[in-house]
Structure formats: structure tokens, C-alpha cells
């Protein structure tokens, strides 16, 4: 959507000087009591955020260069090749985890592929569908409020529930879909959630069902905020509805488009609940998020390896996050 993918953090991090627009109280002008208040109000949440979000985020990156089974301590010695793994624990492993993931870990490339398919379906189907819902509802046709409520309903449900609810649609012998298409006999029933060639697509229908409503609500909020005179002006100039949307409305909705891009990418990287509730993310439903989890809470704890997979997710997610932050806080500066 936007080509600005270089990280904008340094530029945006500068404290804005806004003498005219809004006079904030300088911290030097506060008395002792006020300073204590500032320290408490800012300090406690900051500590919480640093300890439980940012420290683990950096920890993932560091751990990804180690070989560790979670038992014993970490040290900085380099792992010795040709040593039994029991003696080679908590050591510096370089990029070996990444190398192994890419070369000998059988689930890695399928998981990457599934995540990419997930993203593609969200970008090409779920998001446009949600936008279409929003545009149609925004035109104020009869019953639009009711449509909005219905299409929004799945957003309220947890993904775990969505997974369970859809199991009745997909059920092999009794399910609605197989019954309707007449494939509910024991020998020719379609195993929608069990067949590794089908189940990813079946689960993606569930994900789309929920995501489209989410995008719709976000987009509706954006559409409502568009200055109506813009639309009138476009109509006066003889633009049709299609042209008005793509040439006038869509460009002024740039901020919301970026929010939706972020939501779309991040949600497809986070995808976990649906596949976990369906079959714990195996047999055709491998995703990077599942692999990260199974390497740390499974029986074989490969902390370093799991972290390396987490870093892959981190690197991909930094692209949309940077674009969003740049867009949001650059405007902050110029405000």
C-alpha cells in the first residue's frame, strides 16, 4: 500500500517542539509533589510494559542465537560441534537455529507457506469483502443498521468459539455442508477439517467470516468521517460512484487504509487460535505461531530454536508496524 518501508523510528522519536500550538507544562516547572505524581503515573506502566513486553521481545532475539533446553543456565561460550547435546546447553549457537529451521526442520517451509496463504486470503478476500460491506452499508440503504449488526456478530466471538461453531458446518457425516452437497455418506464424505489439502482453506473460510466484519466496522468509521462535501463535489464534476470512491474517497482515507493494512498483516501473523482449536495446528494447519508455541510448551523444549521462529515473525511484523508508526507519529510532529 505504501512504499515507505524503511524504519522511520529515529525521525519520529525526536520530541516535538510545539510552542504555539499547545503549551505543555514543562517538567522543570513542576513542584516536588507533581513530580512524584508524574513519576508514578508514568513509571509503573512503563516498568510493566518494559518488563513483560519489550524485555521478552529483545530476549527472543538474543535467545534465538543460543542452544538451550530451558534447564540449567545460559552462558556465552560457543557451542562445540560434535558434542552430545546434553553438554552443549545454554551456549552460543550463532545462526545455527535459523540455518536448521530453513534446511532440516520439516514443518518450517509449510508453515511459512500457510502463513503467506493466510495473508493472501486476508488481503485479497477478507479485507476487500469487509470494505465492500462498509461501502454498501455507508450508502444508507434500507436496513443498513441491521446488516451491520449481523455482519459484525462474529467479531464479538472468540476465535476458539468460531472454530467450534464451524465444526458443525464441516462435520464429516452430519455437517451442514456435506449434507447439502450430498457427500455425507460414509465412503464419499469430504473430511473438510481432516484432509491436509482442504483444511487450511476450510479454516480460512472461518477466519474470513470473522475478519470481514472487523474490517467493515473499521472502514465504516473511516467512511463516516469523510467530509460529505467531497462526495458532492465529485458528483457535481460528473464522477460516477466507482470513480468517486477510488479517486476521491479512497485517497483521503489513507490513515484508515494503513490501519487496516496493519490489522490485516498482524492478524494473519498472529493466527493461532483457530488452527489450535481445530487440530492443534498439525497435519496441514502448521503456522509459524504454532511452531513457536510447540517448541516452548511442548515436551521437547527448544528455547533457542523456538525463539528463532519468533524472530521470523518479529521481522515480518516490523514492516507494517513501522509504516503505521511513521504515518501516525509523523503527523504528530507537524501538528
Amino acid at each position: 500500500m505504501s512504499s515507505t518501508s524503511q524504519t522511520p523510528a529515529p525521525a519520529a522519536a525526536v520530541t516535538p517542539a510545539q510552542p504555539k500550538v499547545r503549551r505543555r507544562r514543562g517538567i522543570r516547572r513542576l513542584n516536588t509533589r507533581d513530580r512524584v505524581v508524574v513519576a508514578l503515573l508514568l513509571g509503573i506502566p512503563l516498568l510493566l510494559d518494559l518488563v513483560f513486553v519489550w524485555f521478552p521481545a529483545i530476549g527472543t532475539v538474543l535467545l534465538s542465537f543460543t542452544k538451550w533446553n530451558g534447564v540449567g543456565s545460559l552462558h556465552t561460550k560457543t557451542c562445540q560441534p560434535n558434542m552430545p547435546s546434553i553438554l552443549n546447553n545454554g551456549c552460543w549457537y550463532g545462526v545455527q537455529n535459523y540455518h536448521q529451521a530453513a534446511t532440516i526442520y520439516p514443518e518450517f517451509w509449510p508453515a511459512v507457506r500457510h502463513n503467506l496463504i493466510w495473508l493472501a486470503v486476508f488481503v485479497l478476500i477478507a479485507t476487500p469483502l469487509g470494505m465492500l460491506f462498509a461501502v454498501l452499508i455507508d450508502r444508507g440503504i434500507r436496513g443498513s443498521r441491521m446488516y451491520q449488526s449481523i455482519l459484525f456478530l462474529p467479531v464479538m466471538l472468540s476465535l476458539a468459539l468460531v472454530g467450534i461453531i464451524w465444526e458443525f458446518m464441516y462435520s464429516q457425516n452430519f455437517g451442514l455442508i456435506n449434507t447439502v452437497i450430498g457427500r455425507n455418506g460414509n465412503d464419499n464424505a469430504i473430511d473438510w477439517l481432516g484432509n491436509p489439502h482442504l483444511n487450511l482453506w476450510a479454516v480460512l473460510v472461518e477466519a474470513t467470516w470473522r475478519q470481514a466484519g472487523y474490517v467493515m466496522v473499521l472502514y465504516l468509521a473511516g467512511l463516516k468521517a469523510v467530509d460529505p462535501t467531497l462526495r458532492e463535489a465529485a458528483l457535481m464534476d460528473g464522477a460516477n460512484a466507482w470513480q468517486t470512491f477510488w479517486r476521491v474517497i479512497f485517497p483521503v482515507m489513507r490513515p484508515i487504509n494503513i490501519v487496516i493494512m496493519v490489522v490485516t498483516v498482524i492478524e494473519s501473523l498472529r493466527a493461532f487460535d483457530l488452527v489450535y482449536i481445530t487440530n492443534k495446528g498439525i497435519n496441514g494447519l502448521e503456522l509459524l505461531s504454532v511452531l513457536v508455541t510447540s517448541n516452548i510448551v511442548g515436551e521437547t523444549q527448544r528455547v533457542g530454536f523456538g525463539s528463532a521462529l519468533g524472530v521470523v515473525l518479529l521481522v515480518i511484523s516490523l514492516v507494517p508496524i513501522s509504516i503505521f508508526l511513521y504515518q501516525t507519529f509523523r503527523r504528530e510532529e507537524s501538528r
Partner: protein, 306 residues
Amino acid sequence: MTTDTLSRPIAEPAAGPSGPRKPKPWGQIASQVFLICASILWLLPIAFALYVAVRPYSDTRKYGYVSMPHHITFKNFSDAWTQSDMGHFFWNSVLITVPAVIIVLALASGVAFVLTRVNVKLNVALLILFTAGNLLPQQVIITPLYRIYLKIHLPGFLSGSGLMYNSLFGLVVINVAFQLGFCVFVLSNYMKSIPEEMYEAALVDGAGLWTRFWKLTLPLCRPALAALATLLTTWIYNDFFWAITLMSSGDKRPVTSALANLQGQFVSNQNLIAAAAMIAAVPTLVVYVLLQKQFIAGLSLGSSKG
């Protein structure tokens, strides 16, 4: 998906070159048809699960799920409730969600106030730090977080296990820490819209910083706080990932993640699973019916100012 793509071409003209000044009637009709089809498709899975839930197992076993109802019963609901001890899991959800929502809002409004009204150095940098923290996929931080949770010891009254891991307290903490960023972002945007003159007046009256926060800013933020509370309650109640990874045993899990266990427990009686799922959906459906506007307002606050 097939049905979505099938019905889309019908509506394409509606968004397409159909209506210049006044939308032509057939454009209207196409939109209506499309939205009616979509609405049916959107309600169908929920209605179908509900239909399975209100029928006895013997019925669906014999005739399949897609059949006329021979008996309608609410026994599945009471059986699911008692056999799986759902009341207990609901109570866990309450013990996690209520404190987490209150603490997040309290902490986030403090941060947002300081970042918008006091000229702390690195104001924007801090705002970025909080906002970005909420955007990370949970799996990016779970590996070290899991190790940290195994390392932190808690006194017995906070955690039966003596560890942060497998404790309700631990789940409250991670939900608070993770949602903090979003709330700080939304509330700071909201607080920026409060006119500076109000603070000038308060200063003239000699109000300290705490008074300006507690007596002036927070009451003005009530609409945003209400919207966020609705949103957070739903999100934290719906959380699945933290409870699955940071809790080992089934009996401390909140209801959403306990559903994973129920599936195993009721594997021979799918109707009970459907009933349990419907029961678990009740709190969010209550929010949906009563507070839908608040929920949507919360989402819009998070996106439109972005």
C-alpha cells in the same frame, strides 16, 4: 469462500458504474440481494450450532444434524454446565477479566495524561514504545515470557503454585501489559482534544497535577473509558493464547481456553459441545446486544485518529 465469491459479482455493479446522482433502483436491489445473502451466510453457522445444541444426542445420532426437530430440549445446556463445571471456569474468567480491565484503564489513563499534558522529554518516543508493544504478535514475546513466568515466585495468596506461571495473577499481568499500549494510544488521542483553556483555568485555581488528572481529565474521558472498557472486556474474555501457553492445568483456565479441554471431554457427544460453546458465548452476546455502540466506538477511536 465459494459462496462469497459467487455472490460478489451480483453486487459489483452496485459499487460499480451504477448510480451517479441518485443510485439507480437496480443498483439498490443488487446491494440488497447481496447483503441479504451475506447476512444469511453470516448467521447460518451460529444458528446451526444453536440448533445442534437444542436437540438431544439420540435425535441427531439417528437423523443427522440436518433434519427436522423431533425433540427440542434444553437439557444439553444444563448437562454441559454441570458435567464440565463451567461455573468454575466462568469464575476464573471473571477473576482475570475484571481486575485486568480496571488496572489497564487506570494505568493507561495516567500514562496518556502525562504524555499529553506534561512536557516529558521523549514524549513521542514513549508513546511509540507503548503503541508498538501492542502491535507485536504475541508469539514474538512468548518464549522469554514463558521462562520469566517460570522464574518469578509469588506468595501463596497470589498463586497456588507459588509461581507466576499457572496463576490467575500472571494472566492478569500479561493481559494488562499487552493491552496497555492500545489504551495509551487511544486515550492520549482523546485527551489531546481537551481544550488547553480548561487546564489554564484549573491552574489559576491552584490545582495540582493530580487534581488536574483525577478531577478534570478523567471525568472528561468518560466516553472513551466506557468504550475501551467494553472492548477490553470482550478481548480479555476472548483471550485464548495467553491462557493456553501460560497455564498448564485445566482447572485454572478461563472459560474461553477451557473450551479446548471440553472438546476432549465431550468428544462422544457433540451436542454437549455445541451447548457449552453457546453458554461460553453468552457474555459476549450480552455485550453485543447491550453495548454494541460502545464496542464499535472503541474500535473507531483506535483507528480513526491513527
